[in-house]
């Protein structure tokens, strides 16, 4: 267990390096840049005209159905990875291949059904 997590120490170090690059850059930037806020400057820019109403406007999230589809498919897709590494190992062969086509058929049927229902067109 210990050796398994050891591999990730380098990753943690690199994450710190990345944080230092961004943080250090912004800190150096702080010394170089002016800071003279005025009410006009702090106004939301939006499109150049003074904003009307608040920024978090109500909008219709049209693609929530895509989001459902994505979650369904992505959860399936994750299981592909462990399977992909062993499917052609000795002793599996044709059986796993058949299973793959069952899997693909499920996905394709789901996609075709969603398409037929008209979900896949952006409104």
């Amino acid at each position: 267990m210990r050796t398994y997590f050891d591999a990730y120490v380098g990753l943690a170090v690199l994450l710190l390096v990345g944080g230092a690059i961004v943080g250090g850059g912004l800190a150096a930037n702080r010394l170089l840049r002016p800071h003279r806020p005025t009410p006009e400057k702090l106004l939301t820019y939006e499109c150049g005209v003074d904003p009307v109403g608040e920024g978090w406007a109500h909008s219709y999230v049209r693609y929530y159905v895509f989001a459902y589809l994505y979650v369904v498919f992505a959860v399936d897709a994750v299981f592909l990875f462990p399977w992909a590494t062993v499917f052609s190992a000795p002793g599996y062969g044709l059986t796993t291949l058949g299973e793959m086509f069952v899997f693909l058929a499920f996905l394709a049927a789901g996609l075709a059904y969603a398409g037929k229902k008209g979900v896949l067109s952006w409104v």
Partner: protein, 318 residues
Amino acid sequence: MVEVVVKLALVAAAFAVLPLLVGQAEHKVMAHMQGRLGPMYAGGFHGWAQLVADGVKFAQKEDVVPRAADRWVFKLAPGVALVPYLLVLIVVPVGPDGQVALDLGLGLFFALAVMGVGVIGAIMAGWASANKYSLLGGMRVAAQLMSYELPMVFAASSVAMAAGTLSLPGIVGEWRWWWLPWQAIGAVVFFVAGLAELRRPPFDMPVADSEIIFGPYTEYGGLRFALFILAEYAGIVVLCALTTVLFLGGWKGPFLDAELGWLWTLLKVAVLAFLVIWLRVSYPRMREDQLQKLAWAYLVPLSLGQLALTGVLKVAFG
């Protein structure tokens, strides 16, 4: 220990240099392709000083956070957009025999997962700006990620099936020239989906300047804005490196793989980066509905077909 430190330093150096090279190349290639004079002026020869001038400008601009903005999320977003691409570079092999900073057993899975995190930075920016157009842009970023992540994952898992491993050096080790035709569909799907995930033209609907100003980045200025642009170029480097490693044989070249492996890798990445820039210059922006249609009606079925092809040929001949 020393070896690990040197490798991490090399990763950080590549992260600092390669995106800037891509940025410089983009200036010049676009200037040549479109006959632009602006980027060819600064400093005399081919406008070499343009990037330096841009850097100096960004470094001394005031850091304005709009009063209405969600302050902490707004300030954090550029970092979230940039750092994941640095982390992905740690698993990308440049040569054989351990010329990789970290040979992770599930490197491919790791790379795909962490690459997706970068997109959250853009969504955070879109939300935190308290700007209607930024919010719309952020929504489009999210929609694009969801549609294109799927074909990308399928295309990548096709390579994992072919190689029988998720380790990136392992995949290149298994790679043979006939994978090029075998995995061609997957390669195109992966590259196109990656471009869409990076919101590069022609998939730049989330930042479409003619309708939503500059999408999630509208309210940013100075260094934070520069970090977003840098994230875009770092994203190009990562996408090209992953495409190279998965589909183009990574360090394998016509000769001297062991000695010149890093050169072949860099060469392939550079050619792909040129292709990314070329696509930006040549194609008009796709509409939002066309974007979704391309993903769900073409790329997903194509990538499923690639999975079937990979499985059948692997069992038949492997």
